[in-house]
Subunit: 361 residues, 2 copies
């Protein structure tokens, strides 16, 4: 199997390579899906961290961007993005609070909240700004977020502190398991619906009911959700393929790597955990996949070595040849790179800085 055109010659491996045409198809496909359902698309920019890709998402109809940190929000605000949602229960104290307030004074800003203490800090930090608070709900991933029934109480505290409450959001991360996507999408809709009821009981309207992840995006309930926040769909990755949420033809980003060693049916590549990331969910079949060799598995990973095992009897890539590795989790792989090499039809056409790389604070 060979997917798409070959790589340009003499790439400095390891490096991350974006296929511009596949990226564009992914972006257009999700935009069309959201439009068809009548749901707003607010892509999570933590996946790509690139101004060029954010621009395309907004041009294709996204209502704004989702980010995870104040630092990411600053990068996209500096580049002119006027509508940002920090989908994270920020602790808005000290210098982080001051940076958040400065952001709120120059863009349309939404921030997540899930505790009374967090809401109190936001209220004192953001007093007098138009920032909207969105209450985070746990829909089954059990990471952050309140139970749907408690949403009204946190929302009322926010309202009481002088904050504007826009609605509720959740991340159905428990959809990242084989056979779990349908259940997670159902849980997501149920939790957002119940949280909206809880706000109603507190005299508040959940105008925004925001959910969606790449694995559940195709299954979302447009009667309950008003907004979709997928990130990975831009590039796809090995997790999406192994979950059955995307096909090989959706892979827009790979790590170009050189075969540096060979021992029997095992090859070693020069892209290790400092390029691919070390993410490996319990059900993953390895540390990544090879785009042109779906039968192979990355069976071991260290900082600068990926060991790839070929189980069958077919030909092996030669020493010195360049192969394309599909990272397990593209968000962490992108965050390791300073730039993305952009190709179209086997030609290097651009290099995009990963503008928000490492902006974790």
């Amino acid at each position: 199997m060979t997917v798409g055109p070959p790589l340009p010659a003499d790439l400095q491996t390891p490096c991350l390579v974006v296929d511009r045409d596949v990226l564009e198809a992914n972006l257009a496909g999700m935009a069309s899906h959201a439009r068809g359902l009548g749901v707003s698309l607010r892509p999570h920019a933590k996946t790509h961290k690139c101004l060029e890709i954010a621009d395309r998402q907004l041009a294709l109809g996204a209502v704004g961007l989702t980010v995870a940190t104040v630092g990411e929000a600053e990068v996209f605000a500096d580049a002119g993005c006027a509508d940002l949602f920090i989908a994270y229960p920020l602790w808005a104290a000290g210098s982080r609070g001051r940076r958040l307030r400065a952001l709120a004074e120059r863009v349309s800003l939404r921030v997540g909240a899930e505790s009374r203490e967090g809401v109190e800090l936001l209220a004192s930090t953001l007093a007098g700004t138009a920032t909207a608070v969105v209450i985070e709900i746990d829909s089954g991933h059990h990471r952050t977020g309140v139970t749907p029934e408690f949403a009204g109480e946190v929302a009322a505290a926010a309202q009481g502190g002088g904050l504007r409450v826009a609605g509720v959001f959740t991340f159905p991360g428990h959809g990242y398991g084989p056979g779990e996507r349908e259940r997670a999408a159902t849980d997501e809709a149920r939790a957002l619906g119940a949280a909206a009821s809880s706000l109603r009981d507190a005299g508040l309207e959940a105008r925004v009911r925001s959910g969606g992840s790449t694995p559940t995006a195709a299954l979302l309930d447009p009667h309950t959700l008003t907004e979709l926040r997928p990130g990975v769909y831009a590039f796809s990755d090995a997790q999406q393929i192994e979950l059955g949420a995307a096909g090989w033809d959706s892979v827009a980003l790979t790590a170009a790597a050189t075969v540096v060693s060979r021992r029997g049916r095992n090859l070693v590549l020069d892209a290790g955990s400092k390029v691919l990331g070390a993410d490996r969910l319990p059900w993953a079949t390895g540390y990544g996949r090879l785009l042109d060799h779906p039968e192979a598995r990355v069976t071991a990973l260290s900082e600068h070595h990926a060991t790839v095992s070929f189980p069958t009897d077919g030909p092996l890539p030669d020493l010195g040849s360049v192969v394309r590795v599909v990272p397990n989790h593209v968000c962490t792989a992108v965050n390791l790179a300073d730039e993305l090499v952009v190709v179209a039809d086997s030609a290097l056409i651009d290099q995009w800085p990963v503008a928000a790389r490492g902006r974790n604070a």
Copy 2:
């Protein structure tokens, strides 16, 4: 338990914090250990990637630095380090070959090799330079490297191609397992000794017999090894603690993180896999440890969330408080950060750029 002085106030979490005094003690301790054994110390700079730390290692007697990539070598060469060992089986083709040759013309350079094909490329790339080749041996980690008995054949090919052969090296990575350090150190010495014999049989001298990792450094055989290449010892990490290779008082680097959410005995911190790295060897008890709460475990990790479980009945850190997380694997954590915050006695005294961050090619 509280280890060392508290952190300075109002750090922008998450961030990586280096305790200068613990770092200095770690650097001096390993330098003294190597000196006492009469073995050269050539620290692996992939751990810290910082010019300031490399300077201290060299000032304390290191004979040069070890690096993993041409890009890392370029950074340290630019900063004046005159003796570099790229301990990796480089594929020296195309632009990488040209960069390698440029390096060889300005510093004292050693490069790894483990295949005839790799050696042929090095020979044509480095013809006429003083670069030395060091043959990589597999001492039991089964990643890269030839069997000791085959070392002479690869070395003879290098010599035949006009390259200078300095000796042999190995990474006893199989020492990264509970109870495996002693066996790995024994394997390391045996493999290097056998490889030296193989070179002798081919009429070559293995003047350099280089080994050593942080877990095996204390156990090395100074009759066989001439050189030691540990990296992690500068900072230590949770893997070293859980292996029994270092104590809590050796931890010189932590991720400062804020408690953003709480549910029962579980807290969520704002340092996730984009700060700590997702490394987790099968025997690790979690995704990292807390310096001041050894009973706690990082039980789940996503990009911007670390879930910490406290198993006992003691007090929990408050929402909004800052805790110190010890990454499982410090090398990958450092490679995620643009700079390290340096503290001494609870005061912020410096910020060091991670100069070779992301230089994977």
